[in-house]
């Protein structure tokens, strides 16, 4: 029997997805005949069989993503070879006739390039109202079989996980094929109470591009307990994960909150809601007010509207406002271009249009890039306080949470019931300091509390 494993197509490729089995169980396959197709985050290929024989068992189904070295199938080549003697990771795809590539200069420094490139933030990383909980896909407590001779063969994923979490692999019992240490074994060895693994990663060791997507579905038998379902992460989810993590890794995030009395805004909206819809064809929410108030504050504090570009600070004159929109595939941040040239009606229209088209998957590329600042609005879902992740290269993101009636102290030391809301901002301490951030938020608060928006609504 020959064990077929997920080949390693490059030092930094740690996992692959089975696109298609080209042979069914029970079928004969020739040596070097294509057996299955895989897709990695870098490259697709069909993989030939290393031996002639019968495909006796497919272990990993189409669509599943597994770490390099995972056993995918068994081929009975009729020579009585035992699985434990099969070739190690990657070697299953060697061919005897192959010359060695003459790699040019520059192609050798792959791992370090990877690490530094992975830390480059995308232009418009989506932002989330709250950071995702880091659920660790720990497998159910495995029994500990004998450690076979292959227990020293480690996939890059296992090596990295162990390094990141400070696990001495010599102390870990492997439960994989032939006693190999699997990802689940490493995760099980993490001391309980060690917190979120993502947050404890060293910043300098920026993760490989696919790192946030390491929640590879466990292969059959090793993973999900009863009552759990296992699905591969979508491409968009992986992209969001990468963007989020790179923002967390690269920004010095600080957070400031103010309380804003929006009583008059609530009353205004109640009064004009129907007329606004009738006149302009879109619903009036509080978001346009907040965008207007924020744009003014950005004009007063241009630093908050800027970005870091290498050794420089780039400060655009215009305000392009990113608005976080959740949709079925995840989260996207469409941009209201030149928001500083719009009144509340224009902003309301733009938000309605962008959100609708985001949810219909009809945004154009240039509509989701180039934001200079972003606003997330988890309030409608009831959150009182959120700590958003900065949508890089922006240096700040404002969160609008739920408006609530609360008892507040008003003029004359009286207590009154007012509609109030917490408005907060995550900001990058690399560029901004607490004074600017707080004065900026105070300006937003002052605008929202003192402006008469009625004239701005065109009704």
């Amino acid at each position: 029997m020959t064990s077929i494993q997920m080949p390693q197509l490059g030092e930094t490729i740690v996992e692959g997805t089975i696109l298609k089995w080209l042979k069914a169980e029970g079928e004969q396959v020739e040596r070097d005949e294509p057996l299955f197709e895989i897709s990695t985050d870098k490259v697709d290929t069909e993989v030939p069989s290393p031996v002639a024989g019968m495909l006796t068992k497919i272990v990993v189904a189409e669509g599943e993503t597994v770490p390099v070295g995972t056993e995918l199938a068994m081929i009975d080549s009729g020579d009585g070879e035992t699985p434990a003697e099969a070739a190690p990771s990657g070697a299953t795809v060697t061919s005897p006739d192959s010359p060695t590539i003459e790699a040019g200069e520059g192609s050798g420094a792959v791992p370090s390039d990877e690490a530094s490139d992975a830390s480059t933030a995308p232009a418009s990383a989506p932002s989330a109202p709250v950071s995702a909980s880091a659920e660790t896909p720990t497998a159910g407590a495995p029994s500990l079989p004998d450690r076979g001779p292959r227990s020293q063969i480690l996939s890059p994923l296992v090596r990295r996980l162990a390094q990141e979490r400070g696990i001495d692999l010599a102390t870990v019992a492997g439960t994989g094929t032939g006693g190999r240490i699997t990802k689940a074994d490493v995760m099980a060895a993490v001391p309980s109470g060690s917190g979120e693994p993502a947050a404890s990663q060293p910043v300098a060791g920026a993760p490989a591009p696919s790192a946030p997507a390491q929640v590879a579905p466990p292969s059959i038998g090793a993973g999900a307990a009863e009552g759990e379902t296992v699905e591969p992460l979508s491409h968009i989810r992986k992209a969001i994960a990468t963007h989020m993590l790179s923002s967390v890794n690269e920004t010095a995030r600080a957070w400031t909150m103010v309380e804003v009395d929006v009583d008059h805004l609530v009353k205004l909206r109640e009064r004009v809601r129907d007329a606004f819809l009738a006149t302009h064809g879109v619903k009036l929410t509080y978001l346009p007010f907040v965008v207007r108030a924020t744009v003014d504050a950005l004009k007063a504090f241009p630093m908050v509207n800027s970005r870091i570009d290498g050794e420089n600070v780039v400060t655009p004159r215009a305000v392009h406002m990113g608005i976080a929109v959740s949709y079925d595939a995840g989260l996207i941040v469409p941009v209201i271009k030149d928001a500083d040239a719009m009144n509340s009606v224009g902003i309301a229209r733009a938000i309605t249009d962008l959100a609708a088209r985001a949810r219909a998957h009809q945004l154009k590329p240039d509509e989701v890039q180039g934001s200079t600042f972003a606003i997330t609005n988890p309030g409608p879902y009831g959150s009182l306080v959120s700590v958003p992740i900065i949508s890089q290269p922006n240096v700040a993101i404002l969160a609008l949470d739920a408006i609530q009636k609360r008892p507040v102290v008003v003029e004359g030391d009286a207590i009154a019931v007012r509609s109030v809301v917490y408005v907060s901002m995550s900001w990058d301490h690399r560029l901004l300091d607490g004074e600017v951030a707080t004065r900026f938020l105070a300006r937003v608060k002052q605008n929202l509390e003192s402006w008469d928006f009625a004239e701005d609504l065109g009704i």
Partner: protein, 232 residues
Amino acid sequence: MRRTWLFEPAGPVRYEASNKAMHDLAERRLADGTPDSLILLEHPPVFTAGRRSRPEHLVWSEREAAARGAAVHHIDRGGSFTFHGPGQLVGYPILHLGARPDAVAYLRALEDAVIRTGAALGVELHRRDDVQTGVYAGDDKVCAIGVRLMRTRVTLHGFAINCDTDLSWFDGIVACGLPDNGVTSMSMLLDRDVTVDEVRPIARRALADVFGFDYVQAPPDELERFSPSLVA
């Protein structure tokens, strides 16, 4: 040095024709002593969809795209949608990667060759593979890269450098499935008309520097793969 057949067909080559030629050459590269190949060409307008394409990344419908003169081909490379057309230098290196193929090192080397091409023209380019491979100027992609390996060993597909491409074609797609990144061209970056004819010899030389190509003229019967009957 690697003896390498060089194919530089004159005029645009239909996508189906060069796609078949590329696969045939790769099969032969695997099967016998055929040398590596490098194909440098232009295509008539065409959209190609890789294995990771998602329908929402096609902004125009396939019918609409075809009506504008660019059919959508679903092909076997990785990645999402891209566009090929006049003003774009497309390169298909067909290389045997050896006994321990390292796809990442190959991609890095391809990017390196394109970055060198940019440098020779006076444009500073860089890779941004936090999400995907390719070569960028700032946030904008100037060169798409999409690769597939045949039986894990021989490279298929390749790169596409926008020289003076009409970039409005990219309105039809979310290029490479990345809504966050725009598309640009050498002409845009240099603010003058930079043609495929200008870039081709520079790219040819940069690829030779990076991969150690020793170009030889492909035999006449091989060149016929790109004969005028196959040229659009």
